[in-house]
Subunit: 189 residues, 2 copies
């Protein structure tokens, strides 16, 4: 087997490995995510938009599309639906009149925070599946290989928002009686 042959097969096998694993993992996470937000009559894209708008304290449609990994038209259409339900409002920024920004209304923020407060790790298969790793190593897997691959596909900016979302959770929520509660009415205001 020459080097070229080896490398072509290696490439196919890696593509297949990462493809099968990410399909299987995402399908499981998707199901749990849908169940989590079902009582609020939201789909995953809509919830993701609320999440991004909350995290960024207002986001452009292009931010929503990038960080939510959806088409710009999908981001726009679902944002419009959220606006019609009074959960999101559209605006322009003083220093950027060209882009449309979305931010949570009071009602949208309340809904977002209620959903977070109802988060229950026991309903997450990926969480349960990762527990044996946590029990062995003392912390959850960092998924560094997966993170590096995602970073190399989507860029540094994507990862910055990704990391920022964790410090927001860290800063914004406390646990009371086995439930997450937000500390303040809104982050970074």
């Amino acid at each position: 087997m020459n080097e070229k042959e080896c490398s072509m097969k290696e490439a196919l096998m890696f593509t297949q490995r990462v493809g099968q694993l990410s399909k299987a993992l995402w399908k499981s996470i998707e199901k749990d995510w849908q169940n989590w937000i079902k009582p609020y009559d939201l789909n995953i894209n809509e919830h993701h938009i609320l999440w991004i708008a909350y995290q960024l304290n207002g986001a452009s449609i292009s931010d929503v599309a990038n960080f939510g990994v959806m088409h710009v038209s999908t981001a726009f259409n679902f944002s419009k639906k959220l606006e019609e339900r009074g959960l999101l409002q559209f605006s322009k920024k003083e220093n950027d009149k060209r882009n449309t920004y979305v931010c949570l209304t009071e009602k949208g923020e309340q809904m977002f925070l209620s959903i977070m407060e109802e988060y229950n790790p026991e309903n997450s298969s990926a969480y349960s599946a990762a527990l044996p790793i946590k029990n062995l190593y003392g912390k959850f897997p960092e998924l560094l290989e997966m993170m590096t691959i995602v970073k190399n596909i989507y860029g540094e900016n994507f990862m910055e928002i990704f990391e920022k979302s964790f410090s927001n959770i860290e800063d914004t929520f406390v646990e009371q009686n086995g439930q997450l509660k937000h500390k303040e009415p809104a982050p970074m205001k």
Copy 2:
């Protein structure tokens, strides 16, 4: 911060980490996969069914649903469409009259092998994104954390088929003139 509080936040942050990463990774892989099979007028589920039928040298609808991570009804309906196109045939096994099995027709196998032969790693974002890791460590990332999580969600049997698919590629394909070619008309017959 007490231990419980820490663990609840840790759980949410891990769930979010694995959720965002797997959504982003899968959406990229899904796009590349769709582009790869587009010339054959197949969707991802249909191609996945052909792939599983090829790998297992005939598979029950329940195998297809399990290993393809799709509902049984989805597996059945798309298998029917493939049958109508003359790519798949339904049968019963001598030693198992209760389950419906699907296997590739000659035409289905030809199509599957053509698609494999047209595989081009340069069209895979995940492959390109993993190359820096290969260049650094001398091999592609093994994604062991991701694999363990998927194993704990879907079970040992799922992983056995998963691993088997790699040895099938190893045994069945050679590289000629920068393209994958299958060695024999069909594997394991």
